[in-house]
């Protein structure tokens, strides 16, 4: 008996020109952990909303077919009743927290199910302990950071052990450590409580290792429904943008893709491409890439020819009645250098960018820049206040971000897709790029890849590459940092704890590392599948030469 069953479900949002779901038929057994994969706009969120009953009860539109969740047909049972068996977590935690304190938040869903006070109290305690938020129970939800809010919202979804848990990109706002912890928690809930987990994610490398099954969507229809390994094999043929970095690495060296770091490493080891017991693949030889880090060091000692684009000189930011957010930060960014700022939630990344752009002033120290600093904050919609795209930014600014032309000029900014909104907001902060005097010396972006699929991330990396300004990006996404950055600065507790080339920083850790680096154990500083394949090829070539 399936826990969740969809039979021929088609759905079109009110006023939408095309259906968001097309004839979806799917059965999910009790205790399965299913990952829903697909690009932006493929129908992942709509599928989850159909399972939670919001489609069609809340959104309206045209609905055909049947969705049966825990023996409840969503045609007859609204989302409030479906919530008796389904815990739901959406992307933005700010709008999902509906009460004033964490304790009340965790209790809210349980009370709505009509549980007894003792069951509510027990459910709250268990959820708080499982998510390590017991110390937050009496805190006001208005005071929580983004990561704490996300954990609270997840706790509210998991409280009382619902039979089905539906999660829409739950790790999009979390740092890699918290993201991995969350996937571990879901796996534990799945194994210990037999909860059926349905999880939509863009960062498949994070969750495929824990999944039992993957359902891939394209244009609202199911295009693949298979085990993680079979899905990766399918993706290699039919949807390369859905491949994980580990799968691309294995494909590049002629191996069958495997889900998760452990299985990928075992595959390489079996093929003799990774030494048993250790991963000390020899460093690739060849000319070392120009190191902006060294250039920066030269500039500190006064030998560099060009002055830095941005300098933080012993910057502190101390709250009047609270801790220090930035502690003695000294950094220098060279012109046209591309820097990724990484670190856990609350490490001070966003605060550092706000200081760079002058939105915040240091309580001690100084911030200097060679010119204007453009800052794109986390939510691009906040920049969109006019009625047409043409009113938002000059044509000279729209061109470089790919929004030139009459087709875009007359559109309402809020009707654009997520990626287009992001590019429009970038055009707004960049200003007229044709005017050298108005061109920003530094462009800062705060978490620009939140909720983006792989294609859009690559587009953004290419766009930033061609700006001609120094670029500083705060990100939780090691894969994006590896694709875009020359240099990575790792922050912890308001201070830089690592600062070096992308390969030095991202290949040397276990959390703030790309999947390729994790599979290869950081060998050779390889960060991307292409680097990894080249490294393995070099090693295999060297071994062949030795045998010959």
């Amino acid at each position: 008996m399936a826990m969740v069953a969809l039979h021929g479900v088609s759905y079109t949002y009110p006023g939408a020109p095309a259906p968001a779901l097309r004839d979806v038929t799917l059965e999910i057994a009790p205790g399965e952990l299913v990952v829903v994969a697909g690009g932006s706009g493929s129908g992942k969120s709509t599928l989850l909303r159909a399972i939670s009953g919001l489609v069609p009860h809340f959104h309206g539109g045209t609905f055909a077919g049947r969705v049966i969740v825990a023996d409840m047909d969503t045609r007859e049972h609204g989302p409030g009743e479906v919530a008796q068996a389904v815990g739901t977590l959406f992307q933005d935690p700010e709008t999902q927290v509906v009460t004033g304190t964490v304790r009340a938040e965790l209790a809210f869903g349980l009370e709505n199910r009509g549980l007894s006070p003792a069951e509510v109290a027990r459910g709250v305690e268990e959820a708080a302990l499982a998510l390590a938020i017991d110390h937050l129970l009496d805190r006001s939800t208005a005071e929580l950071s983004g990561g704490e809010l996300q954990r609270t919202a997840l706790g509210a979804a998991l409280a009382g052990r619902p039979a089905v848990v539906v999660l829409d990109e739950p790790t999009s706002q979390l740092d890699p450590v918290a993201g991995d912890e969350l996937i571990g928690l879901l796996r534990r809930a799945n194994e210990d409580f037999d909860a059926t987990i349905i999880l939509a994610e863009h960062r498949l490398e994070r969750c495929l290792g824990a999944a039992d099954r993957v359902v891939a969507l394209a244009d609202g229809a199911i295009v693949c429904d298979a085990s993680p390994a079979e899905f990766l094999a399918w993706a290699a043929r039919a949807a390369p943008n859905l491949q994980t970095p580990g799968a691309r690495l294995l494909n590049a060296v002629g191996q069958s893709p495997a889900a998760g770091v452990k299985r990928a490493r075992a595959t390489l080891r079996r093929a003799g491409l990774l030494p048993d017991g250790r991963t000390d693949v020899e460093q690739p030889r060849g000319p070392a890439p120009p190191s902006p880090w060294r250039a920066r060091r030269r500039s500190r000692t006064g030998h560099a020819a060009t002055p830095p684009a941005l300098t933080f000189e012993r910057v502190w930011h101390e709250l009047r009645a609270g801790p220090a957010i930035l502690r003695d930060v000294s950094l220098s960014v060279a012109p046209e250098e591309r820097v990724a700022l990484m670190g856990r939630n609350g490490a001070g990344k966003s605060t550092l960018l706000r200081h760079a752009a002058g939105l915040m002033a240091p309580t001690r120290g100084a911030v200097r820049s060679a010119g204007r600093v453009a800052l794109l904050l986390q939510n691009p919609t906040d920049y969109l206040v006019h009625e047409t795209v043409a009113d938002e930014a000059p044509a000279a600014a729209l061109g470089p971000v790919g929004l030139a032309g009459d087709a875009f000029a007359a559109r309402h900014p809020r009707e654009l897709s997520g990626g287009e909104k992001q590019r429009l907001a970038l055009a707004i902060v960049l200003g007229d790029m044709g005017d050298p005097a108005a061109r920003p010396a530094v462009v800062c972006l705060d978490e620009p890849t939140r909720g983006m699929d792989r294609d859009h991330k690559q587009e953004l990396a290419d766009l930033l590459d061609g700006l001609g300004s120094a670029v500083v990006v705060a990100t939780h996404d090691p894969e994006f940092a590896a694709a875009f950055a020359q240099r990575v600065v790792l922050l912890a507790d308001g201070a830089p704890i690592a600062d070096g080339s992308a390969s030095e920083v991202l290949a040397g850790g276990s959390y703030f590392a790309t999947e390729t680096a994790r599979i290869l154990g950081g060998a050779g500083g390889a960060l991307t599948p292409a680097d990894g394949a080249a490294l393995i090829g070099l090693r295999a070539g060297a071994a062949t030469e030795a045998i010959a």
């Binding site: 939670s52 009953g53 919001l54 009860h57 809340f58 609204g78 989302p79 409030g80 009743e81 479906v82 919530a83 008796q84 389904v86 739901t88 959406f90 933005d92 700010e94 709008t95 999902q96 927290v97 509906v98 009460t99 004033g100 304190t101 009340a104 809210f108 869903g109 009370e111 709505n112 199910r113 009509g114 007894s116 006070p117 003792a118 509510v120 009496d138 006001s140 939800t141 208005a142 509210a156 706000r354 752009a357 939105l359 204007r372 453009a374 800052l375 794109l376 904050l377 939510n379 919609t381 906040d382 920049y383 969109l384 206040v385 006019h386 809020r414 707004i428 902060v429 200003g431 108005a438």
Partner: protein
């Protein structure tokens, strides 16, 4: 100015007791016509706020309320024709006509102003010291739809405050002239609608519409805590003293046609009783 759990007897009391206490203070404010009694209620609210750890925002609100009180006094002095003691003759004033400002109308205006400030303080004390989630739970058992509306409204306030801050920051990042206020207003309104939909969807998937009668909060504890009992008793005492002060000739007050204020020991005793009744529950700080 939002609720935050603090170590005070009022915060430790259940919402029903906190509501009753704040409501009793408001009733005392509305019933008091004698300025001595009204002054005592105002002092009691401020002192209760201080004892609950929210004295500073209450004092700030009282200062902000003074111009409101002054405006009420001025308007009453200008528009009221009652009173025998003329203190200023303004002659013919446009719109108002022949205007004589009397001492009685001015004093009564000041009393109305003080009452307005005291009511603001009662409301603020409730906002800062009574858990809104518990209150919503209470009302939900009475009226589902009203509680849903209130829940949405209370939840939207902090979200919109954050949104407003973000919008302002984003506009500071724009090069060139800032957008017009109209454009910003339009964007903010659009954002409010989007946000309201998101919050409503979150409420739906959390089972708010399940129409199951929620259980009583605090484990259905039949026995009231010492703080619950103290604040409920205080609320009853406050209303009782207010009624006595209203009907007892010892605390009589009349503004028109000429001022008649009884300020004898009876009035002072009632004023002291009000303050004591309001502050006594704060004496016990066990079990916070």
């Amino acid at each position: 100015m939002i609720y935050r759990r603090r170590a005070s007897p009022l915060h430790a009391a259940r919402a029903a007791a906190g509501c009753a206490y704040c409501l009793a203070l408001a009733i005392a404010t509305l019933m008091a016509s004698n300025p001595i009694i009204l002054g005592a209620v105002t002092v009691a609210v401020l002192a209760a706020g201080a004892a609950a750890g929210v004295g500073r925002p209450l004092c700030r609100a009282a200062l902000w309320g003074l111009p409101v009180a002054a405006a009420i006094m001025l308007v009453n002095a200008l528009v009221t024709r009652d009173g025998l003691t003329v203190i200023v003759r303004l002659g013919n004033v446009p719109v108002l006509g022949h205007t004589d400002v009397t001492l009685e109308a001015t004093v009564y205006g000041a009393i109305l102003g003080l009452r307005a400030v005291a009511l603001i303080l009662c409301g603020l004390l409730y906002t800062l010291a009574v858990d809104p989630d518990e209150v919503l739970r209470l009302f939900r058992r009475v009226s589902f739809h009203s509680a849903l509306t209130a829940t949405l409204a209370t939840r939207m306030v902090p979200i919109l405050v954050r949104d407003g801050r973000r919008l302002a920051e984003a506009q500071r990042c724009r090069p060139g002239p800032p957008p017009s206020r109209l454009a910003l207003m339009r964007a903010a309104c659009t954002g409010v609608l989007d946000r309201a939909l998101d919050v409503a969807a979150a409420l739906e998937v959390r089972g708010y519409g399940a129409a199951r009668r929620p259980p009583p909060y605090r484990g259905g504890v039949g026995s009231y805590s010492r703080h619950d009992a103290a604040f409920l008793a205080s609320a009853v005492a406050l209303v009782a003293v207010s009624v006595v002060a209203r009907v007892d000739p010892a605390a009589a007050f009349a503004a028109y046609p000429s001022l008649r204020l009884t300020a004898g020991p009876g009035a002072l005793l009632l004023a002291a009783a009000l303050v004591v009744a309001a502050l006594l529950p704060f004496a016990d700080r066990r079990g916070l």
